[in-house]
């Protein structure tokens, strides 16, 4: 069974997704599908809060690659917050970090996005 859950909240025109647990199997694909649904509905600003993410493996990287690509396709903006160093290192290594904005917390990300209308 997947050790993964996802909580969602909308802050006006921003979708905030907070995954919890391990992002290492197909159960975590929900994160990618949900992002796509938000983008498909016209929402262009997505924040992913990593504070409750315990582990990301290569399959997890694939899921974030999909999210990044879809955000590019929809010309959206993707922000990552509350990242541990180990997770940031992975995204730097695979080159995903160049396509996202990284913030200390949700507040900073929302503040940045509110100036980008």
């Amino acid at each position: 069974m997947s050790n993964f859950s996802l909580s969602l909240k909308d802050a006006q025109d921003v979708a905030i997704m907070s995954p919890t647990g391990y992002i290492n199997d197909l159960g975590a694909e929900r994160l990618e599908l949900t992002s796509e649904q938000y983008l498909g509905r016209g929402l262009r600003k997505i924040v992913i809060n990593f504070s409750h993410v315990q582990f990301i493996n290569t399959l997890g990287v694939s899921i974030f690659t999909g999210i990044v690509q879809k955000t590019i396709d929809y010309e959206g903006q993707l922000c990552f917050t509350n990242m541990k160093k180990i997770h940031r290192d992975i995204f730097e290594t695979v080159g995903l970090i160049e396509h996202v904005r990284v913030f200390k917390d949700e507040k900073d990300a929302l503040s940045y996005l509110s100036d980008r209308d």
Binding site: T58, G66, Q69, I90, G95
Partner: protein, 393 residues
């Protein structure tokens, strides 16, 4: 350095996915996700080679949700397979010069593939991986090709094993089907024999079938295993096969038999055994049940006058089933008994002719059927002429 460490960790993740116990489609999908994560590729497709259909069939994909139909199949001929470099990544630029690419150009356009990786186990082609462009259009590095060679080996072995397993499962299903057919033919043949035995005796029509059915009812009640129950059913059907060579006039004689006639008819269990012991039944002891179905627990039976301790449970069951049917059907020398009379007769002979435990088991089941406690009737349908009078009373 970081990149190399990530590649090693990714290959470990891939190893974990391909060796998982997941169903093949899920396993290959997870493996494909790991590969796309390794190279930051948002779209990729994994194909399994189907030589008879001359195609590569889509097994798993990522990022082609809107174009599944277009990418579901690549056509390929054996001579085109021979041109691939084994487990070596081919760039689409290289591949575009081949007639394989030419005939699948629309599929490759939908795939937006940058790398085509043919998957081989030794020199057997098992499938292929098509990788799309990297995110941000970063080109594939020379070191990526080294990692892809390792990926190719892992995926190829997984596909190959899955194919072997699938072939084995197919063969097992085919064997099972053949076995079932053979079993059916076996049963039909046995039924035909039983009909031939009963045809010889005008009074004992369906006797073999009823004896077999009573024996099954008792064996089930005693908790016998399914295969053993089937064995005693067959023994019941064939227990009188030796009567085939006994003179019809003796079998159907309407008065008391003479001494030589009794001796003649008593030969039938041994003759039955002699016939059946030539057959290698898939059930245990069929011929022994038949040989001893006229033995008694007091040792006064025939042909071997065995003592109670020498009688198997199957023999005891068959002895009671045979005698009970003889009592409850018309014979040339007497009319059938009513159910009450047959009950009394069996009880009288319990402990001498019949085994007490088997008798008790049989009567308990019969009484439960008569009281309506049991819905799946096994004995009463065999006694319509007797149970009608009971319900009338």
């Amino acid at each position: 350095m970081k990149r190399m460490m990530f590649s090693i960790a990714s290959l470990a993740d891939l190893g974990q996915e391909v060796s998982s116990s997941k169903e093949l489609t899920d396993k290959m999908r997870s493996a494909l996700y790991v590969v796309t994560g390794m190279f930051s590729v948002p779209s990729a497709s994994l194909y399994a080679y189907e030589a008879p259909k001359k195609c590569l069939k889509l097994l798993a994909h990522k990022g082609h949700k809107d174009a599944i139909k277009q990418v579901s199949r690549l056509t390929i001929r054996a001579d085109q397979v021979g041109k691939f470099r084994i487990n070596e990544p081919h760039t689409i630029r290289e591949l575009s010069l081949s007639d394989f690419y030419e005939q699948n150009s629309s599929v490759f356009a939908s795939l937006q593939a940058r790398i085509f990786l043919p998957l081989f186990v030794k020199d057997e082609f098992v499938g292929a991986l098509a990788l799309g462009k990297k995110i941000g259009k970063t080109p594939f590095r020379p070191s990526d090709k080294d990692v892809l060679r390792v990926v190719a080996h892992q995926l190829a072995i997984t596909l190959h094993n899955a194919r072997l397993f699938r072939d084995l499962a197919k063969k097992a299903a085919e064997n099972k089907r053949l076995y079932e057919n053979m079993r059916r033919i076996y049963h039909d043949t046995i039924q035909a024999f039983a009909a031939a035995i009963d045809a010889k005796d005008e009074y004992t029509k369906d006797h073999s079938y009823r004896v077999a059915s009573y024996a099954v009812a008792i064996a089930r009640e005693l908790g016998w295993k399914k295969n053993d129950v089937e064995g005693i059913y067959v023994a019941g059907l064939l227990h009188d096969i030796g009567k085939i060579i006994i003179d019809r006039d003796i079998i159907n004689k309407g008065e008391a038999l003479t001494g030589p006639e009794v001796r003649e008819i008593k030969k039938h269990p041994q003759i039955s055994y002699d016939i059946l012991s030539k057959i290698k039944f898939p059930w245990k002891n069929v011929e022994m049940f038949v040989l001893h179905h006229h033995e008694r627990v007091d040792g006064k039976g025939y042909p071997d006058s065995l003592s109670a301790t020498e009688l198997s449970e199957g023999v005891r069951i068959l002895a009671l089933a045979d005698a009970f049917d003889a009592m409850t059907t018309d014979r040339p020398y007497r009319n059938r008994m009513g159910l009450d009379e047959a009950f009394r007769e069996v009880l009288k002979c319990s402990g001498t002719q019949f085994d007490e435990h088997i008798t008790k088991t049989f009567f308990n089941l019969l009484l439960r059927e008569l009281s309506g406690e049991v819905h799946d009737l096994q004995i009463l349908p065999l006694l319509p002429h007797l149970t009608e009078s009971i319900s009338a009373n």
